[in-house]
């Protein structure tokens, strides 16, 4: 069986976490590709509905960073 590869939706705050993710790129840090990011203007913009939608659609995890 192939190794379990989780699908993670990440909601990133434009001003900190998203900028951090960009910086990780600039610094060429290498990390697993299981994450797909959704940019929001603030982690406070993440409506619980978004999290539920992600799980409903089959996401294995949700990351809210801000």
């Amino acid at each position: 069986m192939a190794e379990f590869e989780p699908k993670i939706v990440a909601f990133l705050c434009n001003w900190c976490a998203y900028a951090g993710a960009d910086l990780a790129g600039v610094s060429r840090l290498q990390y697993p590709s299981s994450i797909r990011t959704v940019r929001v203007m603030c982690s406070g913009r993440v409506d619980p509905m978004f999290v539920l939608e992600a799980f409903k659609d089959g996401s294995d995890g949700v990351l809210v960073a801000g």
Binding site: V26, R28, Q30, Y31, R36, D47
Partner: protein, 935 residues
């Protein structure tokens, strides 16, 4: 645009007076009309002539018909007639009919009010230093060549290879101070200021680019990482990345003929000869003003110093000896990018102040085409996938992503580009929007944080609302972080593009609100920086309020006597205070404390409490400049405060002013007190020159006094190096000590006894001293309260943080807020002055406008469905939503709404909508990502 570019031209002469100059130019032929040239590159593709590519430091070839680099502005080709054979192929190929073989040298004149001379420098050419083997051994390269080797658009496409055999190096040595700090061999006695940092940077990037291990060694005399946060970077290289730093000046380089490796011979600190073998050697070449630049300055009768930098006054750093002509960048003196950008703004400030009356009269109005109404149209999405040189294309299968995008709903056009941000691609996007009636655009490239605004402008320029745009970040958050897994990165790029396309379809036209700008400025802090900022703004014609918390203007400079150049600080301060106090546009408020603050760019209101006044004063202002300053660290080390023979440099200069150096047989100075240690990691930048300044002063007063400077690295950067040299010539003794073995200071009746381990003697020496002077570092002023009230960010050392270290060095992250002086970080008076002028210049860009456009990303309340539960009022981190008692509705002022969307998420009735990030515009991304698995 209010900038005209005049390319391929040289200044012959300048006549007239400030405010009314006539500049005579020689316009050299380019042989291709830059107006007609579309930058398509067909001419270069068909040119049969191979020429050396100077841009890539001669490491590869180009054609005789060429463009320097892909992002060149203007994006137009030219013909290098030194190599062109005149075959006519390019003329035949050029559809735009831009080739002009008969182009000839012309002369023209320009009428201007002020002139800024910023002709810069080039790297030192080490060919003449035969012991380095440059030009003889292929694997010895200059740092400029190495930069090109590391670059994605360089000769090896960013793959780290050595020139001889295109093998990846196993070890690289950097040799510092090639063409700098070397009066004997090249005549350049100055320090170039930038080489230590770029060597550290190059070593870190080199380690990142190789596939295996890479040993990096930097041979140096002193590591001069004196800028803001530079010490942390140096320590990261040394302690985390394993870059080795060896204190030695290299004796010779010898090539191993069989392998092309290089043997470096050097003497270590104890004088022992050592030998190491490297795959490659990088010469960290210094900055040097080129002869043609010096000739130009001389033609304009501008006084230069012996190294051909502009001879400037310490208190007027960007002025030249010719009124109305200013300078900036390396022509002014060796400096890095933040310093150059700062000085450029400073020069613009002074140049603009003279023309303040005429401001805006010559600016052509930018016509933005009428916006197309796309409201009722079905989405027609264009997707542009960027290769970003090889940054994306080298990892992600860009043609595959482009082909995939074609299959997505609503996509009617796709394309891939080498650099989507380049001017030619921007033009192409505009063309394609019109040609294919695109009403939404997706760019899959780098980060929206850096490029969204630029692409949005492109949309605007062809009549498409700028908010009909979305980016997929397939570089920073994909190809760069999955660079070793191309398949995975490609799959992710497709996902990100699919999400972006889904969102693009949901985007709606938005319009930005326009608000007026209050034309008054507020400057916080009345030291040299604050006063210069206020004076510069006043001279630009803007009313300015200058706040000082003390009862007197002057700040820390009141404690200083002379600059190292010998300029009288107190005399300068007196003139400055008089100028500021007597200026009809400047109001000075001393004994002032900020107690309240509100508002936003263009419309701030600050409440100030004044000593002895009961009523608080409210100041309305459009911008503000933070210049709160810094002071001297009060040492806890080396018996300071216990024995009065231990004092700081500031106290020593007081003593020298008052009593001279009589009775001083011996003075010991200890560097890095309260700097470069665990508690305060950063270098305080100014202490080395302070020690040298006071040491020279002592020697001048009493040549018999023995002065010892105990140091870790002497950081007399730029032209300060000359004073370090002079101090050594005067007999000042410099003894290096190790960070782990600091000097020991004891009190004794015969004097202070200082023990230090001398690196050359390799043993402890004891020095008796009449005075021990501590080079105490700088400490930011206490701004805890003020920074909280005004919501301004500071770094762990208490210095305010600029918006971008290199690109926006005097802007703060919030719009309309600027920064200068030691509030930003330790610096010399001269540097604080240019920074203050720069901050004023940046503030002027705001104040010169009558109104600004606000972001359209704001929250709106659907009042018909709102039940006034006040959840939003309680939740907004900025206190924006308010309940209007008269109208009985919740109101959100879009001018102060930050667009965070907390209210939109928290509203239990979902009656608040955040434009551009409405529920459906986020939800669609989640659905698009997870519904279409298996791509």
């Amino acid at each position: 645009m209010n900038i005209d570019l005049v390319m391929c031209s040289e200044v012959k002469s300048i006549s007239g007076d400030p405010g009314n100059f006539e500049v005579s130019l020689v316009n050299h032929p380019r042989y291709i009309d830059p107006v007609k040239c579309t930058g398509c590159g067909e001419c270069a593709r068909h040119c049969p002539v191979t020429a050396v590519n100077q841009y890539n430091m001669k490491l590869d070839d180009r054609r005789a018909t060429y463009i320097e680099y892909a992002q060149a502005v203007p994006l137009a080709f030219g013909i290098d007639t030194d190599t062109c054979i005149g075959c006519g192929l390019c003329e035949n190929m050029c559809i735009a009919k831009a080739i002009k073989y008969d182009d000839a040298e012309r002369e023209s004149t320009l009428k201007v009010g002020s002139v800024i001379l910023s002709v810069g420098s080039r790297g030192f050419d080490p060919s003449g230093l035969d012991y380095l083997g440059y030009g003889k051994y292929t694997n010895v390269v200059t740092s400029e060549e190495f930069e090109r080797i590391l670059s994605a658009s360089g000769p090896y496409f960013g793959h780290l290879m050595r020139p001889l055999d295109r093998e990846e190096p196993k070890s690289i040595a950097w040799l510092q101070c090639v063409g700098s700090r070397d009066a004997n061999r090249c005549g350049n006695g100055y320090c170039s200021s930038v080489c230590c940092m770029y060597a550290v940077k190059e070593s870190m990037i080199a380690k990142e680019h190789v596939h295996g291990e890479l040993d990096c060694v930097v041979f140096n005399m002193d590591m001069r990482t004196f800028g803001k946060d530079y010490e942390k970077y140096y320590l990261r290289a040394r302690d985390k990345e394993g870059v080795r730093f060896i204190k030695a000046r290299v004796h010779s380089i010898i090539e191993v003929p069989e392998t092309g490796d290089l043997i470096i011979q050097y003497a270590d600190e104890a004088g022992k000869m050592k030998e190491e073998v490297f795959s490659m050697v990088v010469l960290s070449v210094g900055l040097q003003v080129q002869p043609d630049a010096a000739e130009l300055a001389q033609r304009l009768d501008i006084k230069l110093n012996k190294y051909h930098f502009v001879d400037s006054d310490p208190f007027a750093p960007v002025a030249t000896s010719q009124p109305g002509i200013y300078t900036c960048g390396v022509l002014q003196g060796p400096k890095d990018i933040p310093g150059s950008v700062t000085e450029a703004s400073a020069a613009a400030c002074l140049a603009g102040a003279e023309l303040a009356e005429a401001r805006g009269t010559d600016i052509p109005k930018v016509e933005i085409p009428k916006e197309m109404d796309v409201t009722d149209q079905d989405p027609r999405i264009g997707v542009f996938v960027c290769n970003c040189g090889i940054n994306i294309g080298g990892v992600v299968d860009v043609p595959g992503v482009k082909a995939y995008a074609e299959t997505l709903p609503n996509v009617v056009y796709t394309d891939e580009n080498l650099f989507t941000c380049s001017q030619d691609t921007q033009d192409k996007i505009k063309e394609k929007i019109i040609e294919h009636n695109l009403n939404r655009v997706v760019v899959a490239s780098c980060s929206p944080k850096t490029h969204e605004a630029m692409f949005m402008e492109t949309l605007e320029a062809c009549g498409l609302n700028k908010y009909l745009f979305e980016m997929a970040n397939i570089r920073n958050q994909d190809s760069w972080i999955h660079s070793k897994e191309p398949e995975v990165a490609t799959k992710k790029a497709k996902d990100l593009v699919r999400m972006a396309v889904a969102r693009a379809a949901t985007l709606r036209t938005l319009h930005e609100k326009v608000v007026p700008i209050n034309k008054q400025a507020l400057v916080i802090g009345g030291g040299v920086a604050g006063m210069n900022a206020a004076l510069s703004l006043g001279n630009q014609g803007f009313n300015t309020v200058l706040l000082e918390k003390e009862t007197e203007l002057g700040g820390f400079s009141r404690k200083l006597h002379h600059t190292i150049e010998g300029a009288d600080v107190q005399a300068y301060l007196k003139t400055l205070v008089d100028d500021v106090s007597g200026h009809d546009k400047i109001e000075v408020l001393t004994g002032a404390r900020i107690v309240g603050f509100e508002g936003f760019k263009g419309n701030f209101a600050t409440e100030v409490a004044l000593d002895g006044v009961d009523k608080k004063r409210k100041i309305d202002h459009g911008v503000f400049i933070v210049a709160t300053g810094a002071g001297e660290y009060q040492p806890k080390e080396f018996l300071y405060g216990e024995d009065d023979r231990v004092l700081t440099q500031v106290a020593l200069s007081d003593r020298l002013e008052e009593k001279g150096a009589d009775g001083l047989d011996s003075v010991v100075m200890i560097q890095c007190v309260g700097s470069r240690n665990d508690e305060h990691v950063e270098c305080s930048r100014i202490c080395c020159q302070n020690a040298v300044k006071n040491a020279l002063h002592i020697k001048k007063l009493n040549p018999e006094t023995q002065v010892y400077v105990l140091y870790r690295d002497i950081r007399t950067y730029g032209l300060l190096e000359d004073y370090f040299t002079e101090a050594r010539e005067q007999g000042v003794i410099f003894i290096r000590f190790d960070e782990d073995a600091p000097p020991d200071v004891r009190s004794a009746s015969e004097g202070m006894l200082v023990t230090v381990k001398d690196h050359i003697l390799q043993q402890n020496v004891e020095i008796r001293a009449d005075l021990v002077t501590l080079s105490a570092g700088m400490r930011a002023e206490d701004t805890d309260e003020m920074s909280q009230i005004m919501k301004l960010n500071r770094n762990p050392e208490g210095y305010f943080i600029e918006a971008h270290v290199k690109l926006r060095p005097v802007d703060m992250p919030s719009d309309g807020v600027f920064l200068c002086g030691t509030a930003h970080g330790p610096k010399l008076i001269t540097e604080a002055i240019s920074q203050a002028q720069a901050a004023a210049s940046r503030a002027t860009t705001f104040l010169a406008k009558d109104a600004i456009k606000l972001s359209a990303i704001t929250a709106k309340v659907d009042v018909d469905h709102c039940v006034k539960c006040l959840t939003c009022v309680r939740s907004c981190p900025f206190g924006v939503p308010e309940f209007n008692i008269n109208e009985k509705v919740i109101e959100i002022n879009e001018a102060i709404c930050h667009g965070c969307g907390v209210c939109a998420s928290i509203c239990p009735r979902q009656t608040i909508h955040l434009s551009f990030y409405d529920d459906d515009q986020i939800m669609c991304k989640i659905d698009a990502l997870l519904e279409a698995e298996g791509t």
